[in-house]
């Protein structure tokens, strides 16, 4: 009788599983929950959102113009009227920083977007098809990587000539190797996943495998990388402008403003202080947001 009992109860359709009753969060909710846990990352995220809004709305709220020259009030120290003081031409630094926000964010987002558009497909093709195509692409990437740091961007700008658009392109090219390498790595890892084999065994085409099953796996490292790359893109772009190879005066670009301030560092340090501080805040926001994203998206750190 007892035996009978056991057998009856093991009917398969009866595997009415208790685990089902508790709703577990979906991957996105889970991600948001993990992001929310990271206070710093949230601050970074909100800062980016706030700065983006300021870059669009800010200019409409200000009474002054970034190129209003006021020779009488030049070199005035920070005050109630000029929060961050005025520069050597009497232009209001605060106004210029607010107007400059969109250039900084624009170069950051723009170059990383361009870099990703070029780097991600290269990485996927290299990782998915392997063999000669892979070797060829990776050799190209190696060549790009042989120019360290700001040097490649500098070389490109020296060909294209100094302008904000050219800086964006230069920094984008400089970002390609990073994306290609990361994507290649995750593609290689994703290719080995059993569910990718399962879908191949079902007779799926390469395109479907790449777009539906590999790309989503690649997306989170790409997003994390992109966020952190925006930070370094902004630094590089500012550096180029500081060297006079990027945005040209009188554009209120922060790197260019620092270049202006450099000449007066002995007498009016604040001219250089505020644009630099602005860069630090923006870059910091992207860095901590990127860190938080990585923690939230990295399954290794789960639990």
């Amino acid at each position: 009788m007892a035996n009978q009992n056991i057998e009856q109860n093991t009917d398969h359709s009866e595997v009415e599983l208790q685990a089902m009753n508790v709703k577990k969060p979906s991957p996105w909710k889970d991600f948001y929950k993990r992001l929310k846990r990271n206070k710093a990352a949230l601050i970074g995220f909100y800062t980016i959102v706030f700065l983006s809004i300021v870059s669009i709305v800010g200019p409409f709220l200000l009474s002054m113009d970034p190129s209003d020259v006021d020779v009488i009030n030049k070199f005035s120290r920070p005050s109630a009227e000029h929060w961050f003081g005025t520069d050597h031409m009497g232009r209001d630094i605060f106004t210029r920083i607010v107007y400059g926000m969109k250039y900084t964010l624009g170069v950051g987002f723009g170059s990383v977007f361009l870099g990703a558009i070029m780097g991600v497909p290269l990485g996927i093709v290299a990782g998915y098809y392997g063999g000669r195509i892979d070797s060829f692409i990776m050799r190209l990437i190696d060549i790009l990587l042989a120019f360290p740091g700001i040097l490649l961007a500098l070389a490109i700008v020296s060909i294209l000539g100094g302008s904000l658009v050219n800086v964006t392109i230069a920094v984008a090219i400089y970002a390609i190797p990073g994306f290609a390498r990361i994507v290649r790595g995750s593609t290689l890892a994703a290719k080995k996943l059993e569910y990718v084999d399962a879908i191949r065994a079902l007779g799926s085409s390469d395109l479907r495998i790449i777009f539906k099953h590999i790309l989503p796996n690649v997306s989170s490292p790409v997003i994390v990388n992109a966020t952190l790359y925006i930070a370094s893109a902004i630094l590089t772009a500012a550096g180029l402008s500081f060297l006079g190879m990027g945005a040209q005066p009188p554009m209120p670009e922060w790197g260019a403003m620092l270049n202006d301030g450099r000449d007066y560092i002995f007498d009016a340090g604040y001219i250089a202080f505020f644009p630099g501080m602005a860069i630090v805040i923006v870059v910091l926001a992207f860095n901590i947001f990127g860190d938080g994203l990585r923690d939230a998206l990295d399954p290794k750190l789960k639990n």
Binding site: M20, K24, D197, A201, P216
Partner: protein, 352 residues
């Protein structure tokens, strides 16, 4: 066997190149599967057993062309799969499916169960679009889940349930052959039994053929009709489940069977301890690949590669690849090495 031959593997070789040297050329090969032949009949379960590195999983993947084999033929339903181009092969895949070991890695975490199953049907276009929803509900019930599970994500299921979803995906295209690659190895005993029973049930109901790849001899004994024993890329013994388990002929099979711990404290047996580890498949031993560890090895084993063959006293279809099968059976050929000592100090340090 009166049933027709569904799968016929002939001289299958799967080598993986090792790049090295100064120019990164292929300097050597991992001979994962080295010239094996066997047949699987419709409706039967053939198990491939062996220890890690013996080539059993590689065999399964090569048959499905998940990796492209180096050489040989794989005839499925009379068609040599290795002659097919990419497109023809994709069509062919409808008839042959695979279930994997890791229930966590074998489902796309971003797809709900419904999306997973619907995609499978869409790829092979097996069920008319409007009927797919019903088919999904039906499949889920078949594998012991409920229709309302369709809209859940894999992480909402336990390991055993995921394995059921994997089975449902394989069944969704109505295949003839399913390769089960360690399909129950990652599951706990109590769950493993559920899945094994399920697989047996489907075989009866749908006349499925299984190529069951496993290292667990208990599971193999339970599920198989016939068993193939592999060692270092070669088949060392093949035969009926009964003959293999009760009358093993190859010294490796004997050692393997004797090594399994039996859940019965009174079970007493003479254990054969093999010396050392499995050699590297890059430079496999000459002659019989097992000779470096075989208790019965002689000079002949080092030089001559034994072929699979039968002997008069063996059951029909039972074959072993050993020069001395008969003589060992009759007791005329005695062990040339110690088999009861686990401290093998005389062994030469292996090359790594």
């Amino acid at each position: 066997m009166s049933q027709k031959e569904l799968l016929k593997v002939k001289n299958l070789k799967q080598y993986f190149p090792i790049k090295g040297g100064i120019f990164g050329r292929t300097v050597n090969n991992v001979k994962a599967v080295d010239d094996i032949s066997f047949t699987v009949h419709e409706g039967e379960t053939v198990s491939v057993v062996g220890e890690s590195g013996c080539g059993k999983s590689t065999t399964g993947r090569a048959i499905l062309r998940l990796d492209n084999p180096t050489d040989g033929t794989v005839e499925f339903d009379g068609v040599n799969l290795l002659d097919l181009n990419k497109k023809e092969m994709r069509k062919m895949r409808k008839d042959m499916q695979i279930i994997f070991q890791d229930p966590y890695a074998s489902l796309n975490p971003r797809q709900t169960v419904r999306e997973t199953l619907r995609e499978a049907m869409a790829i092979q276009n097996v069920v008319p679009k409007e009927k797919r929803a019903d088919r999904i509900a039906e499949l889920l019930e078949t594998v012991g889940l409920q229709p309302y599970h369709a809209d859940r994500y894999p992480h909402e299921f336990s390991g055993g349930q995921r394995q059921r979803i994997g089975i449902a995906r394989a069944l969704s295209v109505d295949p003839k052959l399913i390769v089960c690659d360690e399909a129950v190895s990652a599951l706990d005993v109590s769950i493993q039994a559920q899945v094994l029973n399920l697989l047996k049930k489907f075989q009866k109901e749908m006349n499925l053929t299984y190529l069951f790849i496993s290292h667990d001899l208990g599971v193999v004994r339970h599920i198989s009709d016939r068993v193939i024993v592999m060692y270092l890329g070669k088949i060392v013994e093949v035969g009926d489940k009964k003959s293999i388990f009760e009358n093993p002929q190859h010294p490796y099979t004997k050692a393997l069977l004797s090594a399994i711990p039996v859940p019965d404290p009174d079970h007493n047996k003479d254990r054969i301890f093999l010396q050392g580890d499995v050699p590297s498949p890059i430079d496999p031993p000459t002659g019989c690949r097992f000779h470096t560890r075989c208790p019965f090895a002689t000079e002949r084993c080092k030089e001559e590669t034994p072929e699979l063959r039968s002997a008069g006293y063996m059951a029909e279809g039972h074959q072993g690849a050993c020069h001395y099968m008969e003589l060992i059976e009759s007791g005329e050929h005695q062990p040339t090495r110690e088999t009861s000592n686990v401290r093998m100090l005389d062994e030469e340090p292996e090359k790594v």
